[in-house]
């Protein structure tokens, strides 16, 4: 039996094989990082792109990514064996284009990509954008990510 760990909004969790990390996303982005040798990984559920003063680091893409990597390194992971998958970043179906909140999903995706790139972690799969809610399961036995959205499931195996 796999141990299921629910990752809440603006939370970050790490685990190892055979744990499964699950989170539910709207405009937020789930950032999954996996070390394919150690079979250890972590998931950050970010709400916003950029850290603001006094904010918790887990809530923002630009601070959650370094935090997640640091935790994985502490667990014995090696940066060169790490890869990332991201999911989420949806937006409301209809909104006035000048409304900043409407762009949050897209900006979350862009900042997640940028933060990962800055740390040299390749993104091997993305399931982002659109107007769907997503339930993602990140399986630490092999690093696959299952995305359930609009009644359908997709699997991303690449690590």
């Amino acid at each position: 039996m796999n141990t299921l760990i629910n990752v809440g909004v603006a939370r970050l969790e790490v685990g190892s094989n055979p744990a499964v990390l699950r989170t539910i996303l709207g405009s937020c982005v789930g950032i999954c990082i996996y070390d394919r040798i150690k079979k250890i990984g972590g998931l950050a559920h970010i709400l916003l792109p950029n850290w603001v003063k006094d904010g918790v680091k887990e809530k923002y893409a630009d601070t959650a990514v370094p935090l997640l990597i640091a935790q994985l390194l502490k667990m014995g992971c090696t940066r060169e064996f790490m890869s990332a998958k991201i999911a989420g970043g949806a937006s409301m179906f209809k909104f006035q284009s000048n409304m900043a909140l409407g762009q949050i999903g897209q900006r979350n995706v862009e900042m997640s990509r940028q933060a990962l790139q800055e740390k040299g972690i390749p993104i091997v799969a993305e399931d982002v954008g659109g107007n769907v809610g997503r339930v993602i399961d990140f399986f630490l036995e092999d690093g696959r990510m299952k995305v359930k959205a609009a009644g359908e499931e997709k699997l991303y195996y690449k690590v």
Partner: protein, 286 residues
């Protein structure tokens, strides 16, 4: 349009027995509290007739969200200490839990997700009303938040059958999810919810919240503001993924509602950013 589904829904909503029930005391209390000349003693008396509600209500009045520090051991104390509107909100939480805290299959909501969503929307809608210094309506925003999606509990089983058709309609027609529900099944979850509230004998303003929470600009003028609190709170919770289901974000975020409330871009971002704090309050309620 699936005529057979529409006909079954016609029969369900015209037959009160087939709609969900809540304890009678709730409808009575809500209407009593709505009356500005309400007598506190008679409200306490009315509540006390339902022993189960009373027990759970007192427990909730002592929870982190409602408590004012002092322990509350009687209905009279609850009304004096918290105020009658707060007590009414607490009754709503206690009385609707059985209806709302369940799996909502067609919308892909596991047990507890709709309940968490409803409580989060309630807390947030109340916060927005308070932020806009509309204290007088804050409790109604809370109550409306709790029940805004109650129609989903009845519609879910039908959505499950025609989900693909609804989604296809959304994508080809560019219409939002609840409009596609209407086009495919004859009713959307707002309309079904309004019928449920009619069965419960709830006041008009709550029916408007349920009926128009995705299209607040359609609400009667006198209720538009209060509907908008719930609309904005609902949109923010869905964006944060709280209770997001198979209908996803296929809904409109109404600019007119935001303008009507006078919520700035910055305030909107802050409300969204503070969702984790709202969830902490929700934990004290569920």
């Amino acid at each position: 349009m699936h005529i057979s589904i529409k006909e079954r829904l016609d029969s369900i909503i015209s037959n009160l027995d087939q709609l969900p029930s809540i304890p009678d005391v709730v409808g009575k209390v809500i209407n009593m509290v709505n009356d500005p000349n309400v007598d506190f003693k008679s409200v306490a008396q009315e509540i006390s007739r339902d022993q189960a509600i009373t027990t759970n209500l007192l427990k909730l009045c002592n929870s982190a969200y409602f408590s004012k520090g002092k322990e509350i051991t009687s209905l009279d104390r609850a009304i004096v200490t918290l105020g009658i509107k707060e007590v009414k909100d607490a009754i709503m939480v206690v009385a609707t839990k059985a209806v709302l805290n369940r799996a909502i299959l067609g919308y892909d909501l596991a047990k507890g997700m709709l309940w968490e969503h409803d409580l989060a929307v309630a807390v947030l809608a109340k916060n927005i009303a308070m932020m806009k210094k509309d204290r007088a309506n804050a409790d109604i925003a809370f109550t409306g938040g709790i029940i805004h999606d109650v129609g989903k509990t009845v519609l879910a089983i039908f959505v499950q059958n025609v989900f693909k058709d609804i989604l296809a309609r959304v994508e080809s027609g560019g219409v939002s999810f609840q409009q596609a529900e209407r086009e495919i099944m004859g009713y959307d979850h707002q309309e079904v919810g309004e019928r449920i509230l009619a069965k419960w004998k709830f006041p008009e303003v709550l029916k408007y919240i349920v009926r128009y929470h995705h299209e607040p600009e359609q609400a009667p003028k006198e209720a538009r503001k209060i509907v908008s609190y719930v609309h904005v709170a609902n949109s923010i919770c869905l964006m944060a993924g709280i209770g997001i289901g198979s209908d996803g974000l296929y809904h409109e975020l109404s600019e007119r509602a935001i303008t009507l409330l006078g919520v700035t871009d910055e305030e909107l971002n802050q409300l969204y950013s503070d969702v984790p704090e709202v969830l902490k309050h929700v934990q004290g309620l569920s």
